[in-house]
């Protein structure tokens, strides 16, 4: 794959070039969530983003999805500039985003129905996916009748069923127990390996990030955080998620990344404390 | 009481000619108002039919609405006050009255019960609050005319709208106004409710009253009028309508109140047949006998308009274009 300097001319699935996002704050000022983000994800790559809370991970995903316009910088997807919604991506949100007036199966089949698939077919397909996420028996429930983890899994099925070129996932498995989580991770890897998808995955679990990804991107502490490190995970695939934690490469990478991450995370608290002191002065 | 007549059914917009054979829509400025009784009675007696016109009555709850409906083309003929023809001439809307039903407007200026001792003449109305059916109506103009005639300003008395029917009766009974211009049957109902004859300052229901107030023996009020164009094109129909009304007026003249009341839809009596018959009996003296206009009558109307209606004021009015007696002769 070529890597020219001209943004947009390559074939990256997701390409953020120097993206900065600035939000207006209630006080009337502005707050820089992220600054100068460069993120390039080739098709077929699995990239995880880790970083302290509030560092701008969701903001980056929103920009990649086309839901948020960067204050400066450009976003491209498959050489096309992203204006409005990125139609080749599917996005699992951090928040609850199920339609409360649709039952689980209707929520899951939504992407298909919108693409014009017949209802019977969409339902069949949805049931297959519900089975994968372990919700086969809850197809006719409404979202408010589900537990938190079940809602997350429904959202996962909803995002996966449309089989997009880009999968954007914002902490999809954080509300799940370890076992369910592993099942879901395996499903995700399978789905990804079957096709040439690009995956951008946000997690707070470094183990998870390393176990799943080709690349782990570390975001610095906010405000105005930026990419402070990017690690290639060269553990060969297929990987056994159960035993990967004992892999010496894993252990090494984990130590390395964790060392870097720790610095960033503690910065967040230090900066707050610093502020405080300068305030008192 | 049990209603007798089923609703006549909604008519179409019927903007078209309405000439011979086809339906003529007459907009009535309030079918339950007694001044327009002949229009309804003619229908009840079958006189329109006998004359060979197919008439549909549309109840428009107010003379001015009936007039606008006609100008807008919804109706062909209006059963409304003659004074509209003068007002419309001032607005370049030629309409012409062709049969007169009311010889007098049937108005009376009553004093509210609490003021029976105090208000004895028009002059005493200064600074008082006088009720009329609605501002700009003939009741309003009547008050203004009286004020001016007694040498006061139109604004010397405040004018309140109290409507007609129960709201007018309530306003008077509860002394919410100091005096009011009222019509039948409201006067009779009020009389019954306060238990004695109210003090009447001016009463143009009688010939003496007319003479005294307007210096005339007639003050054309309820009449049938139509656009001058329509009248030109439908002379035949107009003639038949005029004939039917004239026959009705004759019928009224030759029958007692009770007999007339019996011909009217039972519902119009509002449950008090006796009162209704009495009111009709009283009404007879305010109705025209032959349906024709008199010259001093229309002049009296114009005079009222000039005094009380700023929209007429001293505009040039050709009275001969506002009425015709050709159909009732």
């Amino acid at each position: 794959m070529t890597q020219p300097s001209q943004p947009g001319s390559s074939n990256y699935a997701v390409e953020l070039n120097g993206c900065t996002k600035e939000f207006a704050t209630p006080g009337g000022g502005s707050y820089f969530a992220v600054r100068d983000i460069d993120l390039k994800v080739e098709p077929g790559r699995f990239v995880s983003i880790v970083g302290p809370t509030g560092s701008g991970k969701s903001t980056i995903l929103n920009m990649a999805a086309g839901l948020l316009n960067p204050s400066s910088g450009t976003v491209h997807s498959f050489s096309e500039p992203v204006h409005g919604v990125n139609r080749r991506a599917s996005y699992m949100f951090q928040q609850d985003a199920l339609l409360p007036w649709k039952s689980v199966i209707d929520n899951v089949s939504l992407g298909l129905t919108m693409a014009g698939v017949s209802k019977a077919e969409a339902y069949d397909e949805s049931r297959r996916w519900l089975e994968k996420v372990g919700l086969k028996n809850f197809a006719d429930r409404y979202p408010h009748q589900l537990s938190g983890g079940m809602r997350k899994r429904t959202a996962v099925a909803q995002a996966w069923i449309v089989n997009p070129d880009i999968l954007l996932m914002d902490e999809p498995f954080s509300a799940l127990d370890v076992q369910t989580r592993q099942i879901m991770e395996n499903e995700l890897l399978q789905l990804w390996q079957e096709s040439d998808k690009a995956v951008v995955f946000i997690t707070h679990d470094l183990d998870e990030a390393i176990a799943l990804s080709d690349e782990v991107v570390i975001l610095g502490a906010g405000p105005g955080s930026t990419v402070v490190g990017s690690y290639e995970i060269d553990i060969p695939r297929p990987r056994d998620l159960l035993d990967i934690r004992d892999d010496p490469k894993f252990v090494e990478l984990h130590r390395e990344i964790w060392g870097r991450l720790k610095v960033e995370v503690s910065k967040t608290y230090e900066s707050a404390r610093e502020e405080e002191e300068s305030d008192a002065a | 009481g049990a209603p007798a007549s089923a609703p006549p059914g909604q008519g179409g917009t019927g903007a078209a000619g309405g000439g011979d054979g086809s339906k003529v829509i007459i907009g009535v400025g309030g079918q339950t108002l007694l001044t327009y009784l002949p229009t309804t009675l003619a229908q009840e007696l079958g006189y329109y039919e006998e004359e060979g016109v197919n008439v549909e009555l549309q109840d428009l709850q107010g003379g001015s609405k009936a007039l606008t409906a006609m100008i807008g083309g919804s109706t062909h003929v209006t059963s409304g006050y003659y004074e509209h023809t003068i007002q419309m001439q001032a607005k370049n809307q030629p309409i012409k009255a062709f049969v007169d039903m009311g010889r007098s407007s049937g108005l009376a200026l009553l004093v509210a019960p609490k003021n029976e001792g105090q208000i004895k003449s028009i002059a005493d109305l200064k600074g008082k609050n006088v009720g009329v059916t609605s501002p700009g109506s003939s009741t309003d103009m009547f008050v203004k005319f009286l004020l001016v005639e007694s040498g006061m300003q139109q604004t010397d008395a405040a004018v309140s709208a109290i409507g007609a029917g129960s709201s007018a009766v309530a306003a008077m009974e509860q002394n919410q106004v100091d005096a009011a211009v009222m019509l039948e049957p409201d006067i009779s109902v009020l009389t019954k409710r306060i238990g004695h004859d109210p003090v009447i300052l001016e009463d143009v229901r009688t010939e003496e009253g007319l003479k005294e107030v307007f210096d005339t023996d007639a003050w054309p009020s309820a009449s049938l009028y139509a656009k001058t164009d329509w009248l030109e094109q439908n002379k035949d129909t107009a003639g038949k309508l005029a004939k039917a009304i004239k026959r009705t007026l004759e019928f009224i003249d030759s029958h007692s109140g009770e007999e007339i009341a019996a011909e009217m839809p039972e519902k119009f009596a509002g449950g008090d047949k006796e009162l209704y018959a009495k009111v009709i009996e009283d009404l007879k003296k305010t109705l025209s006998k032959d349906g024709s206009f008199t010259e001093n009558g229309v002049e009296a109307v114009l005079k009222t308009q000039r005094v009380a209606n700023p929209e007429v004021g001293d505009k040039d009015i050709k009275l001969e274009d506002t009425y015709t007696n050709e159909f009732v002769e």
Binding site: L67, K102 | G12, Q31, T32, Q61, A69, S166, G271
Partner: protein
């Protein structure tokens, strides 16, 4: 193919294990029915008390029957109107007008509400004009309505329309504007076109708003029709009321209003049922 088989599974589990629990559920449902019944009884009692007090006060002369006829007389009149069949043609016309006004007004309000909620520019451009028109006293416009729509039912429909439209419009506008952004974003990411967004997100989300406005509009549609008739017509309940009022037949006036109230009650029941059906996804309110 429906979702039924899956739902069967979900149920089978607990039912198989614990049949008596399903039985235990039954009394609960019965209690809710009973409470429904007691509500109805309460309503009847309330109505009876009010009417009874009115009747009593009327009979002893505290309330003047000239303005407030005795309930017994009113009911008699209602009965006469119904048994003689007098009221039905009138009612039929009023119903036609109200329903037409309701449907056209609601439809126009919905369409414009959705449109303006989605096209920010239009909203900002037109909002003041709509506000201004909403403040026009409709009664004053009666002659113009007569001019435009004639003497038939359409002028009354127009009357009701101007009332229903604004209520539905403003509520729909606000309802669509207050839709959760994340839901919209999610649907968009799943590939929703503007039309699908409307169907799957905006309409269901604004449904509570729309129903609230429909509840208000039912009354206003009838009011509009009746007022229209009252101002000029040859049939309809409003006409019957106007005639009764013209001849001091207060019994008739109240009889007309009672009949109207009853009709509204029935229509509202239907709207309620529709609402319950369409909003069945909402969590059941606990006490």
């Amino acid at each position: 193919m429906t979702v039924a088989p899956a739902s069967k599974n979900t149920q089978r589990f607990p039912l198989r294990k614990d049949r008596d629990a399903a039985v235990a559920q039954r009394p609960k449902r019965k209690r809710s029915e009973a409470s429904n019944f007691s509500i109805r009884m309460g309503q009847l009692a309330l109505a009876a008390i009010v009417l009874g007090a009115w009747e009593l006060l009327g009979r002893v002369g505290v309330i003047d029957p000239f303005f407030f006829p005795l309930p017994s007389d009113i009911l008699m009149t209602v009965w006469v109107w119904i048994s003689s069949g007098f009221v039905f043609p009138h009612l039929w016309i009023t119903l036609q007008e109200s329903i037409l006004a309701f449907l056209t007004g609601a439809a126009a309000g919905l369409v414009l509400g959705f449109l303006l909620a989605r096209v920010r520019f239009l909203e900002r451009l037109l909002d003041p004009f709509l506000q201004m028109f909403n403040a026009l006293p409709r009664v004053v416009l009666a002659p113009i309505f007569l001019l435009w729509f004639g003497l038939g039912i359409w002028s009354k429909v127009a009357f009701g329309f101007t009332l229903v439209f604004f209520i539905v419009f403003f509520n729909t506008l606000e309802g669509v504007k207050s839709v959760d952004r994340v839901l919209v974003d999610n649907a968009k990411m799943l590939g929703a076109s503007e039309k699908q967004l409307l169907r799957h997100v905006f309409i269901p989300s604004a449904l509570t708003w729309i129903f609230s406005s429909l509840h208000i509009s039912v009354g206003f549609a009838i009011t509009g029709a009746v007022v229209g008739e009252y101002l000029g017509a040859s049939a309809g309940v409003g006409y019957a009321i106007a005639q009764a009022q013209g001849v001091f037949d207060t019994k008739g006036v109240f009889a007309g209003m009672f009949i109207l109230m009853f009709v509204v009650l029935i229509i509202d029941l239907l709207v309620n049922r529709l609402e319950r059906h369409l909003l069945r996804w909402r969590p059941v309110r606990s006490s």
